[in-house]
Subunit: 345 residues, 2 copies
């Protein structure tokens, strides 16, 4: 595969591993483009034992996620860590106005070689966004960054999928976010390992803190859904990110969660295995769709099927069900490949 | 397939075709559940020559889409049409508060046998939502409804996908939606066949109307992207839906678009063919993923692959690429099925 392109890919891979930022940016562009180069590169950069810690930061528009991300980055830098930031916006066109302002705030870290910032341009690739975001984080990790902060703009379902590729998920709320019951319904209470009430100095901060505390008490046992969370007590941090108030404490909590995850070797291994299983399934789905779309065979199938359907011979449902059965049957044994030689590494 | 269940499915199908609402609701639940029953039923209900007109209604939260939908329904009822309404909410948990209020407004049509209202509960099935919504609209059409209004709660990308299964897409804006340049960037200007400025009596209504008019003049030629739109001049309706102002005019415009679409037999046929092609591809993708997840084979593949990866033998990327190639190769000729007998109808 990509015999001609082998030399530049290997060159880029080597440079990424040396921490070359320009090579890293090119690598992420390949990943975003879902190109063959990107796939080969990811294969080269992969390490089974991930070391970087991924923090997903989500919450409603206007809750100050970018400012918090910037503050966390500053504290991490003071502690000597190298920080990658992925800013993801898969959501509403109507939040567009806020983005530029948020990004400008991130200029604080411009020129710091220990900080790498990248926006994930995503419109039009909804399905694969969680996947490409995770892949980009693998490239950033390969370039030697210790922490990767994944920040989303909205809180739709796709954003939740994106942040949940993280090791620690931080849910950011503000006093005006609405009541906690609503958030619980939306699944946010289950998703968060840590909660932040940002802009805590505003009216309603104390009320939200009390509500949220009650909610967390009520839903304390998440171990059923996620065994990794056993023994972890979720906390609520109160911050005023624009002033930097509370951000050191927040980072300490995130770090406590990081240490908790790895504190029990058996549990950590189980968690890695479960994550890998999810990752494999999502990769298989993602690549299967992509490669199917690219193959010419699909076009022949479409035009022949359309002719029959519009001619009243069959319904799309009947045809698709039969074709899928045939495809899966024909491909039976595809899992055998896992036992064979696979790619040369 | 479903030999045991054949009798009840046929019974439900027959009742749906007679316009039985209870059977219709059960049918849509099967479709939402993505059950075998749903698939067989859709096959039975399918007609190649769709007659109902589908109107997608999208726009930012708070723009009054539900009120407009309710008003349009009222005017359609006065004209003797039977109306199905699909309310779709795939998006942010933070808009949850508005939904109940919106639905309550729809109670105006409660008890009217000529109106069928259904919410598409969707959390957790993001990928297939456009597909299941369209399928639900086919069941509603089979039950004898002439118009189907598909209303979304938000305006994220998934909502856009959902409304674009419609024949006519209406984009609803309000004076406070933000400026038109931003909307154009977001692709809303391309998506809309008709625009509504609702709550037109508020400050900024005239300014938005002027901006939008200018934008539409600038982007007049959509025929490149969508040949069906050739010859259609997009208009902007000004409404105050809470008072019913402008809704009759809006319906007239929607109806004009409906007639425009069908006015040229050749163009209409081309359009139906292109739509069917998209539908076939999206169905194939959807069912392939679903059936792959359900098959036990995927689990064997996952555990074997994980073992190799965590053992450092291969990367997930290498394994997945090879497995996908094998699956598609093994399934080569799957499109042959389109030429064979297929399902009995």
């Amino acid at each position: 595969m990509a015999a001609d392109g082998a030399v530049p890919i290997e060159g880029i891979a080597a440079k990424v591993l040396q921490g070359d930022r320009r090579a890293l940016s090119r690598a992420i562009s390949w990943i975003e483009d879902r190109s063959i180069e990107g796939r080969v590169l990811l294969d080269r950069l992969f390490v089974a034992d991930a070391r970087a810690h991924r923090v997903g930061i989500t919450g409603p528009p206007g809750s100050g996620k970018s400012t918090l991300t910037s503050q966390l980055t500053q504290v991490l830098r003071e502690r000597g860590a190298r920080v990658g930031i992925l800013a993801v916006d898969p959501s509403s066109p109507f939040t567009g106005g806020a983005i530029l302002g948020d990004r400008i705030r991130m200029l604080a870290h411009h020129g710091d070689p220990g900080v790498y910032i990248r926006s994930m341009a995503s419109r039009g690739s909804l399905g694969g966004l969680a996947s490409t975001t995770y892949e980009a984080s693998e490239a950033i990790e390969a370039a030697g960054f210790d922490w990767i902060l994944i920040e989303t703009v909205g809180v739709g379902q796709s954003e939740m999928e994106v942040v949940q590729v993280a090791d620690t998920t931080v849910v950011v709320l503000v006093p005006e976010s609405g009541d906690a019951v609503q958030m619980m319904k939306a699944g946010l209470m289950e998703a968060g390992d840590l909660f932040v009430i940002n802009k805590y100095d505003r009216e309603g901060g104390d009320r939200l803190f009390r509500e949220l505390t009650l909610m967390l008490d009520l839903s304390r046992d998440r171990a059923g859904a996620d065994p990794t969370s056993a023994g972890w007590t979720r906390t609520i941090c109160r911050t005023v990110a624009t002033r930097g108030d509370g951000t050191t404490e927040l980072l300490d909590q995130i770090d406590a969660h990081r240490r908790h995850l790895r504190s029990d070797a058996g549990r950590w291994k189980d968690r890695q295995a479960r994550r890998m299983d999810q990752r494999l399934k999502s990769l298989l789905r993602d690549r299967l769709l992509h490669d199917l779309e690219r193959s010419g065979e699909i076009d022949r199938w479409v035009s022949e099927s359309r002719r029959r359907i519009l001619g009243g011979e069959a319904s799309p449902y009947g045809i698709v069900d039969e074709s899928v059965a045939r495809l899966l049957q024909g491909g039976a044994g595809f899992h055998e490949s896992a036992r064979r030689e696979g790619v040369k590494r």
